[in-house]
Amino acid sequence: MPGPKIGVYVCHCGSNIADKVDMDALRDFAGELPDVVVSRDYKYMCSDPGQDLIKADIKEYGLERVVVASCSPRMHEPTFKRACEVGGLNPYLMEMANIREQCSWVTVDRGGATRKAKALVRSAVNKARLLEPLEDKSVPVDPKTLIVGGGIAGIEAALKIAEAGYKVYLVEREPSIGGQMAKLDKTFPTLDCAACILTPKMVSAAQNPNITLLTYAEVEDVSGYVGNFEVTIRKRARGVDEKLCNGCGTCQEKCPIKVPNEFEEGMGLRKAIYTPFPQAVPNKPVIDRENCTYYKTGKCRVCERVCPPQAVRFDQEDEIIKERFGAIIVSTGYQPFDPSVGKQWGFGRYDNVITGLQFERLSNASGPTGGKVLLKDGTEPKAVAILHCVGSRDKNYNEYCSRICCMTSVKFAHLVREKTGAKVYDLYMDMRTFGKQYEEFYNRVVAERDIYFIRGKGAEIMEDPVSGGLLVRVEDTLLGVFREIPVDMVVLNVAMCPRPDAQEVAQKFGIQRSADGFFLEYHLKLEPMKTANEGVFIAGTCQAPKDIPDTVGQGAGAAAEALKVVLLGKVTVTPTTAEIRETLCSGCRMCIPLCPYTAISFNEAKGVAVVNEALCKGCGTCAASCPSGALRVRHFDNRQLLSQIEGVCAE
């Protein structure tokens, strides 16, 4: 019995493939393969004329299968599927051979590349022969969006979606939204006060009727799929009735317990019942049960007595909220690098070695010193060193550039000069002022008096045995000398790092991480907000270090992505899911606990496993584990995969 008629289309990709693979040889080779009735090569198969070749051949030769040898399916599979569909062929009868990313781009050996391309094409032809026509399905979409993380990225995304008239749930782990930006003092390059530009957005988010704000809350569980994510959120007990509380602050004033304030980066104190900062949104305190005397001993209850509206609720319990969402935006932010892991910086050993965020708090008018830059002993510093690249651009810690530190350092230098008479030494490796008005800002600060820019990495900080102050060791690479600079304060501009629970969060939302630990975007350049999990988007510094303008841009971009999902009202679900052949399933239940999407259940009456195809992502875990072979993934079943292996191995 003759096989289906197959057409093979070999793409030069300009010179991307043609430079390494002999196009004529590959085309002729493909033409000789069994069942191949036409094989062609073309400079750009993805171009309109390239696609037209396929469409025309489907009609002329009555093609029943199409094989395109070109780039990765991630690049152009949709293009060629569409071309087939327009040409009158079921799009799932098209198979791609990746002879670019997996062949021409990864070798300098032209002969070897041609051989490999032939093997890949033979493999694709083998699989194509066994392909089956499949139909896309569409499911309705819940119009709500969940945003996880209420920093500036999450707030921006929430506002954009809400202003477009769609519902948003904004979930924040801390008692207030605002994120890291709320801690900052002035922002580069304009020296706006961070709170002045952020708090209006925070207030808008709280007041917008389309936004449901859930602070002091965490997402516990996510299941489902694009358009229909089932999410469980735990809203932790504040110990305060939010409806009654008027935010007067009496409770915080009277609470007798003082603990280090996380918001002040450990420098100031807060009470056991507290709002993290004066402009907190919502301006409703929470009780820190670990430190509250009542929860430890059953006594105290001072806050309850003094509260004018009687809003304190010691017996309040966590609230579990279950909601369905069409799209999810993850904007969980970053964690500052902990410089205490490197002894050379003396962080934690010397009182006046502080991190950038600690400096922000010192300089902030609502911070622990009321905006004065002071040493630990309360005196004004006379010389301040600012170190760039602490924990970044350093193979021992993080290879990446943290992007914001150069500009932050320049800003710090300016603020030190503005607030004190101290000399400033700015120790930089390279000065990277890439953003709009950044270079101008740098030039302005360079011109200020008593700021010394030294090109070199601050290598070590130690105590000055003579003065008792600090000494910063640096190789001044412009002068070519080693220097020891006496200072009394050192600011470490630490790297932005992935949050410590990034892996857990990634698993929860079905997203991946790149080698640096940040969340992985679908395409570094062209799909920065999308993830491999359809309907889950990322924004802000959880994706990579970035400054405020870029974070806001991504927030808005992610909002556009989410709106695209909810506005359409329905999503296409791929038919390349798992399928159980009931007549073969023995009901051993091996697959059920393995499914990462809880898509498999058990039908007791029939004694067989059942796949919910709307939940299934086609990952293949179940099919690989199915002992009897009753489970298969459509478009990737055992026969097809084996035929591909045979195609690669045969020669």
Binding site: S586, G587, M590, S625, P627, S628, G629
Partner: protein, 337 residues
């Protein structure tokens, strides 16, 4: 005699096997008499004194059915398999060894040389100071004697000849044999290539209670008395039920013993052993390599356990018939000369 013309001609043969399949035929009990009424047996080395030359004398295709048990280990077995194939209308791979290689195929972990070295050299009971090894030719005063060549590997029957039907089992249970006999007699034969057994895995017939497949320790049957009501796998006993064809009547499970896999893989399972290996591995309840390793170390002899009957049927080795037969023949000649 017109009546005897209607009688079926039946051949039974044993190759590399233990003889259990022969006993299984006798296990038909009184029905064996019915078989004798319905069929004339033309070859049955274990029971009747026909010679190979008697079969050679028959016309090609004149034998209605050949029940062939045992795997192909040497050149004599190959020769008779080919002879019986020529003479028979229907060739049945009878029992696990003919279907999948069976227990003899576990020797495929080793080559001929190491098998000989072990068997004729280093086993504790061997006394062989002259290091005498099996030969294919032996000169004697009466002339040269020829003996079969021991192959480098064990093959299942369909590696060497075309097979029409498969009856699996170690040995095949009498009811399946009877089903096959009835099908042959009535002429209601299934499509060529069919396996006379269930389509699903054995778990389908197993009445034990199945809950969650999570195992913190694997145990061997002699180490524990299993709960007869509960899934054996869930009790940490390697049971090949999920990967093995149904149809045996859950004989082992009824005796509170795990399935050993003698019915071979289900029709859609690619690899019997690897499928079970993967199933066992997914059940191990551990977080990382450090916690998983001690659990999986509890599986003693994984290859022999998971591939107990099907190593010759595995993708782990080349199954190309032409390659197999050709290479072995050539090798045999070289070894002999």
């Amino acid at each position: 005699m017109p009546e005897s013309k209607k009688k079926l001609k039946l051949a039974l043969y044993w190759a590399a096997s233990c003889g259990g399949c022969e006993v299984a035929v006798l296990d038909l009990d009184e029905k064996i008499l019915t078989v004798a009424e319905l069929a004339d047996i033309v070859l049955w080395p274990v029971a009747l004194d026909f010679k190979y030359k008697d079969v050679e004398a028959l016309a090609d295709g004149s034998v209605d059915v050949c029940l062939f048990n045992g795997a192909i280990r040497n050149s004599e077995q190959l020769e008779i398999a080919e002879l019986l194939r020529r003479k028979s209308k229907v060739m049945v791979a009878f029992g696990a060894c003919a279907c999948y290689g069976g227990i003899p195929a576990l020797a495929n972990q080793f080559d001929r040389e190491s098998i000989f070295a072990r068997v004729y050299g280093t086993t504790p009971s061997t006394v062989n100071p002259g290091r005498v090894l099996p030969q294919t030719k032996l000169p004697t005063p009466q002339g040269e004697l020829h003996l079969p060549t021991f192959y480098n590997a064990v093959y299942k029957l369909d590696d060497v000849v075309d097979v029409d039907y498969y009856i699996p089992g170690c040995p095949p249970p009498p009811d399946l044999i009877w089903t096959a006999v009835e099908a042959i007699v009535s002429g209601k034969l299934p499509p060529k290539g069919a396996t006379i057994a269930g389509e699903r895995a054995l778990c389908h017939s197993c009445l034990r209670k199945k809950e969650e497949k999570k195992v913190t320790a694997f145990r061997r049957v002699h180490e524990v008395i299993p709960d007869p009501e509960k899934c054996l796998l869930e009790q940490g006993i390697i049971c090949s039920g999920p990967v093995t064809r149904d149809g045996c009547g859950t004989r082992c499970l009824n005796a509170n013993m795990p399935c050993r896999g003698c019915f071979g893989p289900t029709p859609e399972a690619l690899e019997h052993g690897a499928s079970m290996l993967s199933a066992a591995a997914t059940m191990a309840e551990g977080k990382d390599e450090a916690t998983l390793a001690p659990i999986l170390d509890g599986i003693v002899d994984p290859l022999g356990t998971f591939y107990r009957f099907t190593l010759a049927d595995s993708l782990l080795r080349i199954r190309n018939k032409a390659l197999v037969a050709g290479a072995e023949e050539k090798e045999g000649e070289e070894a002999a000369s």
